[in-house]
Amino acid sequence: MTSTAATPDPGAKTNTKKLLWILAGIWIGGMIILILIFGFGHQNHEFQIQNEFKLINWVHLGVFSINRAVVYLFISTILTVGTMLWIAGRMHQRPNKVQTAVEILYSLMRDNITRGNMEDRMAARWFPFMGALFLFIWFNNIIGYLPLPTNSEQTVNIFGAHIPSFALYAATANISVPLVLAIVVFVIFNWVGISTHGPIGYLKSLIPAGVHGAILLLIFPLEIISTFMRLLSLTIRLFANILAGHMIILFMTGGLAVLLGLSFLGWFTIPFAVLLYIFELGLIATLQAFIFATLAAIYISGAATHH
């Protein structure tokens, strides 16, 4: 019996090489054509990057006005509650692909986030909160990379109706959403700490073991400040990751070219924009949700341990 060759098909390798050379040719050729047609422009002062993240109220209800961030929050809430309930009502013995994905998510939430950082009795109590936190942030991050028609500043005129143009925006790119989630986690872990140790005992538990005497005057304020730093760092980590990701995608897909007036620069940055988009969508969105939930679990379990 002749063994079929274990070496990969050499035709496939040269096909990939040819494809890459063609793509590189299109990239460089397009740049040269754009330089020849449009030349070098001048700096554009009308394009402001902050306008991409501006929130315009569509329904005016005072503080509760509905703008695109609120719509995104509604969508992610419906997704969080809806997908989990829908899958739970349709479980099979032999899971299909969607159920397998949801089971992977569930095991990530239960084993890595909750049970990996809390002991078992606490984990059973706090698992619904951790799961909801992770899923809410995850859905918010993911749908931020889906272009939806939300840019009501620049509308497209179709048969007289002003349709908002497509835009990329994530609710977590606004500082209020991560701030509120971080405040919730902050209140919870302080409350757990106070209810386990009592108020004086909780403050005493902040001091590391074996510290006596005058150096307490230095250590204690630092510990208080570092507890508040947890709130700040949770907020800024999530907010800045998502905001910087969106901003850099906006710059790479033409923002830089518009700002500097160089049309060939827009063509040049397109491959980087695609790579960054895949990187952000595939890694950063999930990772930031996982980190937020993991740190929340670590803080809550840390506040409840008895030294």
Binding site: Q43, S233, R237, A240, Q288, I291, T294
Partner: protein, 85 residues
């Protein structure tokens, strides 16, 4: 030439663009060193004990995100200097 470069970046006067540049640049230095160190250690650890790969991978992602956050602290500080001028 340096004035020409900062004129290209200015959203007002020189100090705003300079603030973002310094904040982002210095932040990236620290984050780059930290992330490289983490992944280097992960490679070493997986080489020594390949069966621990999954456990080490979850700690690796935790460390990566915490270190990358320091870059974003620097970037936000730079953006604050641009907003506050």
């Amino acid at each position: 030439m340096l004035l020409g470069l900062t004129h290209l970046l200015s959203f007002g006067d020189v100090s705003a663009g300079l603030g973002i540049g310094i904040g982002g640049g210095l932040g990236a230095v620290g984050a780059g060193v930290g992330i490289g160190y983490i992944f280097g250690k992960v490679i070493e650890a997986v080489t020594r004990q390949p069966e621990m790969r999954d456990d080490i991978t979850s700690i690796q992602w935790l460390g990566f995100a915490l270190t990358e956050a320091c870059f974003f602290y620097g970037l936000v500080a730079g953006l604050l200097s641009w907003v506050l001028k």
